[in-house]
């Protein structure tokens, strides 16, 4: 059984949801980690959940990166530990320099809450091991700043290093501007670190892990993370 830590920043609001899925849906051990703690010992994986850490004041994730736990998360990641950042968790990992890119406001300049389809681009990361490249997963997004940005040259490098993990597509897996609802560069919905153990995505797999919620596709990402740990 995997032991998965779910970090609580002040303003995290998907912490309970993530804990619920790890423990009650996937049947693993889940543990809340308070942001002022810096002890991650005994954990096999760490998830930074969604929310509005510190109200997202100043800039999304900009204040959370200074929480004591982030030093420990960086250390954990450096040793190859699997880290998953969901939505605000992804933004925090970007601010902390553990994942590339930055988030602009959605191109509509409005908060977007809706289901999206994302295509799996890589299955050699901590959160996609065992998935099929090209398969399409459906899950909700809920964010105001999910418009992934990097300068073109850096995007080319990101692509060439295989760090693009998910892209927004239509239901059939085709790239389509209308499906790229927040206007992300190259429709990027998720990326990974060069070591492939740190993964961030804007959509919410934990909100699509039970069929009664409309989709159970997200559970596959959660289970991939656990699989990585158990096999490690």
């Amino acid at each position: 059984m995997a032991s998965v830590g779910v970090v609580i920043f002040p303003g995290s609001n998907c912490d309970h949801d993530t804990y619920h899925v790890v423990k009650h849906v996937c049947g693993q051990q889940a543990k809340f980690i308070w942001h002022k703690d810096s002890d991650l010992s005994g954990l096999d994986a760490v998830i930074l959940p969604g929310g509005f850490s510190y109200g997202d004041y100043l800039r999304t994730g900009a204040i959370a990166k200074f929480s004591p736990v982030m030093g420990a998360v960086a250390e954990f990641a450096k040793k190859g530990g699997p880290v998953l950042g969901i939505c605000n968790g992804f933004q925090i990992l970007q601010e902390a320099g553990l994942l590339p890119g930055a988030m602009l406001r959605n191109r509509s300049v409005k908060f977007l809450s809706q289901p999206v389809n994302i295509r799996v681009e890589r299955n050699d990361t901590a959160a996609t091991a065992g998935l099929r490249v090209g398969e399409v997963l459906t899950m909700p997004i809920a964010h105001g700043e999910g418009n992934f940005y990097m300068p073109d040259a850096e995007l080319d490098e990101l692509e060439s290093k295989g760090q693009v993990v998910f892209r927004y597509t239509d239901i059939g897996g085709g790239l389509d501007d209308a499906a790229n609802v927040n206007g992300s560069a190259r429709a990027i919905a998720g990326v990974c670190s060069p070591g492939r153990n740190v993964v961030g995505l804007m959509p919410h797999p934990e909100r699509a892990s039970e069929p009664e919620l409309g989709s159970a596709d997200g559970r596959r990402i959660m289970e991939a993370l656990i699989r990585t740990v158990v096999h490690a």
Partner: protein
């Protein structure tokens, strides 16, 4: 005290005399300030209280009725659902984003003050027209002097955008899903938008907290955000009409901080678990004044505080300013003497202020000190229970438009075109532009989100779910306040039933004009009567709510608009029902009968430019039987979808059933019995107590309907990409679903 000072405080000379009588002396300015907010209409319900007392508030499931921060109803397994609806109309007009945001913040605080974790938010929103289209203009509005032209449309759009962004901005960051509600457009809401927010929470019944200052000698804590000069006299502002210059009242609107509220929620729920806290109340309208006096009054005690100890954002604040500030995200709590450290440790963990500012005293007075100097000393009761109570004069509401015979309107040349125009009417059209800005899925409980008759959220740790809906109909209310109120109750209950839920409790938000006008007061009296009658007949107790009066601009009142929020219980969450058809070939059935009910209808407004005639007459018996039949079918898992036929009538309802979520979906061929009515009436009549269901077991549905005495006809079957509607076998509408869908999505297109 001079008249100018009294006017500024919204107090009448006779009210001042009453204050002097209670005090036994002239009040000082700080004391006058306390009275002015506590005796405002907003806090005291002085015009409505004697009528509200007639509402049914009891039932076998009621755990907490009106009088606390929110009502609570038992849902089994030792759990209760805590819920309430509240208005933030006036602030939302003055400053749409912050007005709406703090409205959401306020109602969320009412819920977690009870010890409950908020799990869902709904909103009933009403605005003036946002397009200059003729569909929004009626002869009857023009006759009242309410005009809608381009300039208002631009302004209304700005208000709509701000309100929606504010609701999302607060709820999304706080992390409570906004799962449903309604958005309605009528010219009477020009300059007087209605923003009614409902919040629902879950609590262990034995863990419910109350706003009581128990135990003499116990410590009074101030927790949460610092106090600033914002919102001083907000409650008084919300108790007056608007005129020219109302926008200048902007400083009376508070600024919300959802992050602070989220942290406050977690800290409060954590501290309530310790057992060190005896009572808690949020600081909403009238801030510290309301929380200190009400907590003392409920417990039969008093409170002494020193405002020098209150954390402040600004320097040099007087006792008057501190007591009347409506700064957001603050709570007052009373902790057992000797256990203060436990309280402070938890708030410290969350980096929040928790300051002991006073103590509970025995002599039922509210005493305010500033660095030990006595600034105010008032009997608690004078501020709360002994506030003025008015039996304001009222007259039987009369409305010439309601007396008109609208049965003879000419049918439009093409009923298919008429259907498209009604689907495109902003009140009927798909509201995705609105709810896409609300996080509706956080907390992973949303089984049915925005866009169905009712939202359904599961209750984790149980097999149960809650169906929730908020509804009102201003046109019906204007044409017949009593019948309109009954219809609002029935509509909200019916929506909950359509989702498979049994209505178990209701909360009301009464939006009316100036109660000092006898005709407006008459509308209020009649509406409360209607709510009472419907709730009694349907067995749904009212456990709390809110009254918003003085919704007038330049002397023109809004439609009398009671909004009802209803919570329903599903014992089995897997039985939740949605609006949309699910499978080709399913039989589509109509439960209930169609009568000649076009008075006040969407059809009459959009197609004929009239708001006139009598609204439908509700049969409470028929309504009750419909619920019984529906719930039996739902519990036997016989239904694949359910949608009530109300606004826009059967034709609109059939089209809406066809749209799957926001997609084009599936049509069908349906034959409606005329019952001797003209085809346009059959299509667009808004007779209540009707439901459209789809099923693969039509014979069993028929059998159950018959058993409950509910008329039931098979209309046809789901399938194809056209909607064909026949009346007595003759085709009256034959349109592609694509065309209907385009019409239905027109609001989103107009706003994008």
């Amino acid at each position: 005290m001079d008249k100018a000072t009294l006017d500024r405080h919204g107090l009448k000379p006779e009210e001042y005399d009453l204050i002097v009588k209670h005090m036994g002396r002239e009040p000082n300015l700080t004391e006058l300030g306390l009275f002015s907010v506590m005796w405002s209409e907003h806090c005291s319900y002085k015009s409505s209280r004697i009528h509200l007392k007639t509402l049914p508030t009891e039932g076998p499931r009621v755990v907490q009725g009106p009088g606390e921060n929110a009502g609570a109803v038992d849902i089994g397994d030792g759990l209760a659902v805590v819920f309430k609806i509240e208005s933030h109309n006036h602030p939302s007009f003055i400053e749409p984003y912050q007005g709406a945001a703090t409205g959401v913040g306020g109602i969320i605080r009412d819920i977690f003050t009870m010890g409950a974790r908020p799990i869902a938010i709904l909103n009933s929103l009403r605005f003036g027209p946002i397009t200059d289209a003729s569909a929004e203009r009626t002869v009857d509005d023009e006759r009242r002097g309410i005009h809608s032209r381009g300039a208002e449309a631009v302004k209304n759009r700005r208000i709509l955008s701000g309100v929606v962004a504010g609701i999302g901005g607060y709820g999304n960051a706080f992390g409570c899903p906004t799962v449903g509600g309604e958005v309605v457009f009528e010219p009477c809401y020009n300059g007087n938008p209605l923003v009614n927010a409902m919040c629902v929470g879950i609590v262990k019944t034995e863990g419910i907290f109350k706003g009581r200052a128990e135990g003499v000698g116990n410590t009074v804590f101030y927790v949460g955000a610092k106090t600033g000069r914002d919102g001083i006299h907000g409650a008084t502002m919300a108790s007056a009409e608007f005129g020219e210059g109302s926008e200048e009242k902007r400083p009376t609107v508070q600024v919300g901080d959802p992050f602070m509220e989220k942290v406050l929620l977690e800290a409060c729920l954590e501290v309530l678990k310790t057992g060190a806290v005896l009572g808690i109340q949020d600081m909403g309208a009238a801030g510290l004044t309301c929380s200190t006096s009400e907590m003392g009054s409920r417990a039969g005690t008093g409170i002494e505080i020193d405002i020098a100890k209150v954390p402040k954002r600004e320097t040099g604040m007087t006792a008057y300013e501190v007591m009347l500030s409506e700064s957001q995200e603050r709570m007052l709590l009373v902790a057992s003497k000797g256990r203060e450290a436990e309280v402070m440790r938890i708030f410290d963990k969350w980096d929040l202020h928790a300051e002991p500012i006073g103590t509970v005293v025995s002599d039922k007075r509210l005493r305010i000190f500033n660095e030990g100097r006595l600034e105010a000393d008032v009997p608690n009761e004078a501020l709360t229970d002994a506030a003025p109570l008015y039996d304001r004069p009222w007259v039987e509401p009369k409305n010439a438009a309601a007396d008109e015979d609208v049965s003879k309107v000419a049918a439009p040349a093409s009923l298919g075109d008429a259907l498209q125009r009604i689907l495109a009417s902003p009140t009927i059209a798909c509201k995705r532009w609105v709810y896409r800005q609300y996080d509706s899925t956080v907390r992973t409980n949303t089984l049915v989100g925005p866009g169905s008759d009712a939202a359904v959220v599961r209750v984790k740790g149980t097999k149960r779910a809650l169906a929730i809906s908020t509804d009102g109909n201003g046109r019906y209310g204007w044409l017949d306040p009593e019948e309109g109120a009954k219809l609002a109750v029935a509509e909200a209950c019916r929506n909950v039933v359509a989702a498979g839920g049994e209505p178990i409790g209701a909360t009301n938000c009464l939006n009316f004009g100036n109660p000092e006008k006898p005709e407006v007061m008459g509308q209020l009296v009649k509406a409360i009567r209607g709510i009472g009658e419907a709730c009694r007949a349907l067995g749904v107790p009212i456990t709390g709510g809110n009254v918003s009066l003085y919704n007038e601009t330049d002397g023109k009142a809004i439609y009398p608009t009671p909004v009802i929020g209803v919570v329903g219980l599903l014992e089995d969450a897997t039985q939740a029902l949605r609006r949309s058809f699910q499978s080709e070939g399913d039989a589509v059935m109509l439960l209930g009968t169609t009568g000649h009910d076009i008075g006040g209808s969407e059809y009459l407004k959009v197609i004929h430019g009239r708001v006139a005639g009598r609204p439908p007459k509700l049969s409470l018996d028929a309504e009750k039987h419909l619920y019984a039949a529906m719930l039996e079918c739902a519990r036997a898992s016989l239904l694949h979808s359910a949608h009530d036929a109300s606004d826009g009538g059967l034709a609109v309802a059939l089209a809406e059933c066809g749209f799957i979520g926001e997609e084009r979906g599936m049509g069908g061929i349906f034959d409606l019995p005329s019952g001797g009515l003209a085809p346009d009436v059959v299509l667009f009549s808004e007779t209540p107590s009707r439901m459209i269901v789809s099923t693969s077991s039509p014979a069993r549905v028929e059998e159950i309907a018959r058993k409950h005495g509910v008329p039931c006809v098979r209309l046809g079957a789901v399938g194809g990409d056209r909607l064909q509607i026949d009346v007595d076998g003759k085709v009256v509408v034959d349109t592609t679903m694509a065309a209907l869908h385009t019409a239905w999505m027109s609001l989103e297109k107009a706003l994008s």
